[in-house]
């Protein structure tokens, strides 16, 4: 990662009862999730990147350009930064039609257009809404317009603050595919604030884990989520993300086989064609361990794996066991008694039994 491609951010904010203190080197491509509980500072960090927190001190270098350098008194105001920002609530201008909302930012950008307005409209599927006023839109439609409005400025950096948080499950599933298309079709780095592990697992390439205004971990999605040394706040929801390919459909039993490095998993039938890439999550609580390949069990997904690490879990009764299943990391949450009973130690080969997988697409 060279300085020309990277985003370097160092921010400090001290407020009564809250301190943000981060120092990050982030990739200038792909989706970076800023992940953490509410109050962890993820939205504040996103606002610092946008220049919306003028009290922040620190520095921000975007692909070689200095946007902020408090030591030298440099602070590029928000309206001069080539960003797109999607707020948690759609925040459309209520006095302007959908079309005029989209056009508002677009006509103020004079540089070459990377994202045409037509493309943004098509990408978000809002072509039939252009003449409407914002108060005539559903929550999901509003948020799609807000995303298209941000894209229409041809941003070089897209910042999204929990764009799905205000929506119910149905609306979420309506927008998620559009976000995935963004990820696949646009070459803009995206920073995505979320407290939902499923959203992060589905969309992100890179994760920054925040707690109490500090960075607890950062790195690639798979490696970061499979780490055991994170605060217990995260381990109650511990698990891994596996990227797999649809390998086979079993029409008779209505099942689909997914292949990934080191093994495969059988899940209920999926509509995707063979060869399609899918991500799924395996929660630590859904993985159990056996010394030998179990016979006479209803669990069909059994993987040979090697123990790499053992760590404390969120309760004194449990431990987290990190496994390597032929290149794919797995985490199992088992009781301390089971660990002693099975004599689980690092380096030991055993079988991981996966009770359930959560498909993310």
């Amino acid at each position: 990662m060279t300085a020309q491609e990277a985003i370097h951010a160092r921010f400090q904010i001290i407020w009564p009862g809250f301190t943000l203190d981060v120092d990050l080197d982030l990739p200038g491509r792909g989706v970076t999730a800023l992940f953490g509980h509410s109050g962890s500072g993820k939205t504040t960090l996103l606002r610092c990147l946008a220049g919306l927190e003028r009290q922040s001190s620190g520095s921000l270098r975007f692909k070689g350009e200095v946007w902020q350098d408090s030591a030298r008194g440099v602070f590029l105001p928000t309206h001069q930064r080539p960003i797109g920002y999607v707020f948690q609530e759609a925040s459309l201008f209520p006095h302007l039609s959908v079309w005029k909302n989209l056009d508002y930012g677009r006509k103020r950008v004079n540089s070459g257009h990377r994202v045409s307005l037509d493309h943004a409209v098509e990408l978000l599927g809002i072509g039939h809404l252009l003449d409407r006023m914002p108060d005539r839109l559903s929550g999901g439609e509003r948020q799609r317009v807000a995303i298209a409005r941000a894209l229409a400025t041809s941003p070089r950096l897209l910042l999204m603050d929990e764009p799905l948080a205000a929506l119910d499950l149905k609306r979420k599933s309506e927008i998620l595919p559009y976000l995935e298309r963004l990820h696949d079709e646009l070459e803009i780095p995206v920073f995505y604030v979320s407290h939902s592990p499923d959203e992060v697992a589905r969309l992100a390439d890179h994760v920054v884990l925040l707690a109490e205004g500090r960075v607890m971990a950062q790195g690639g999605l798979r490696e970061t989520l499979a780490r055991l040394d994170l605060p217990t706040a995260f381990t109650e929801d511990a698990g891994v993300v596996i990227e797999a390919v649809v390998a086979e459909h079993d029409e008779a039993y209505h099942l689909t086989r997914l292949d990934f490095p080191g093994g495969s998993a059988v899940v209920a039938h999926r509509p995707e064609a063979i060869g399609h890439r899918l991500r799924f999550r395996v929660h630590a609580r859904d993985v159990s361990l056996a010394l030998a390949r179990a016979e006479g069990t209803s669990i069909t997904n059994l993987l040979p794996a090697t123990v790499t690490e053992i760590a404390d879990a969120d309760t004194p009764a449990h431990v987290l066991v990190r496994l390597d299943a032929g290149g794919t990391p797995l985490i199992a949450r088992i009781t301390r008694r089971s660990r002693d009973h099975l004599g689980v130690t690092p380096g030991q080969p055993l079988w991981a039994q996966i009770k359930a997988v959560a498909l993310l697409a």
Binding site: A50, G51, L52, P77, T78, H79, Q80, I83, G84, Y85, F87, E89, S91, F93, P94, H95, Y104, G105, R108, V109, R149, A150, T153
Partner: protein, 226 residues
């Protein structure tokens, strides 16, 4: 019922002119004050807000007295206007305008301030992320969204100036066609026991005020003081 005399028509016209000029000046002067009050975190906010609101509670004679002193030959404003070569303001139409601007200031500033506050920080941030500079944001987002507040402010400022009496009497006196407004004309008629004339003017004021307030309170979604 008696028809209006020429002198009374002159008072009506003068009142209309005074209220119109005052309203235009108030919208220009009041908007930056309202913006500052709506946005500032300064500790002076309370002080400035209270000063703006003073005419709501002060007897008009108090306001008129201080203005008279300030604009008089030995007052600071008076010395300044003399130095400028425009003479003294008391007992002139411009003097009445100055008095009316102070007198009706809260009726314009407060609705506009409420409207600015209702626009909210978020809309300004959204505009900034869409490349609008602060002036651009003010004219393309804040003003359109605050429009109902401006309409309320203009109506209240106008109507309140029409209804002014004490301040006018203190600094304007009662000069026909120059400073005699309708409210003062009514007072004169009553003093002279010309009840018929007083009735016409008073009834006209009552009708005018009612129509203005009716328009204000029946506007869709309108809330005058928020």
């Amino acid at each position: 019922m008696a028809a209006l005399s020429n002198a009374d028509w002159a008072a009506v016209w003068l009142t209309f002119k005074l209220a119109s000029v005052t309203t235009v000046i108030l919208l220009i002067v009041g908007t930056p004050i309202a913006w500052w009050l709506a946005r500032t975190r300064s500790r002076w906010k309370g002080v400035v807000g209270a000063v703006v609101a003073l005419p709501l509670v002060l007897p008009p004679t108090v306001l008129g007295f201080y203005l008279l002193v300030a604009m008089g030959p030995y007052g600071p404003v008076g010395q300044f206007t003399q130095w400028l070569g425009i003479g003294l303001l008391p007992f002139t139409f411009p003097g009445l305008v100055v008095g009316s601007v102070f007198y009706s200031l809260p009726f314009v500033v407060q609705p506009v301030q409420n409207a600015f506050e209702a626009v909210g920080e978020r809309m300004l941030e959204v505009a900034a992320t869409l490349r609008a500079n602060p002036w651009d944001t003010f004219f393309t987002v804040v003003l359109p969204l605050a429009k109902p507040g401006f309409i309320t402010a203009a109506i209240l400022g106008f109507a309140h100036t029409v209804g002014e009496f004490g301040v006018v009497l203190m600094i304007g006196g009662n000069i026909p066609e120059k400073t005699r407004v309708v409210s003062v004309a009514i007072y004169d008629h009553v003093e002279a026991l010309e009840y018929a004339e007083a009735h016409v003017l008073a009834g006209g004021m009552l009708l005018f005020s009612f129509v203005v307030l009716l328009a204000l309170y029946s506007r869709k979604g309108a809330s005058v003081w928020k």
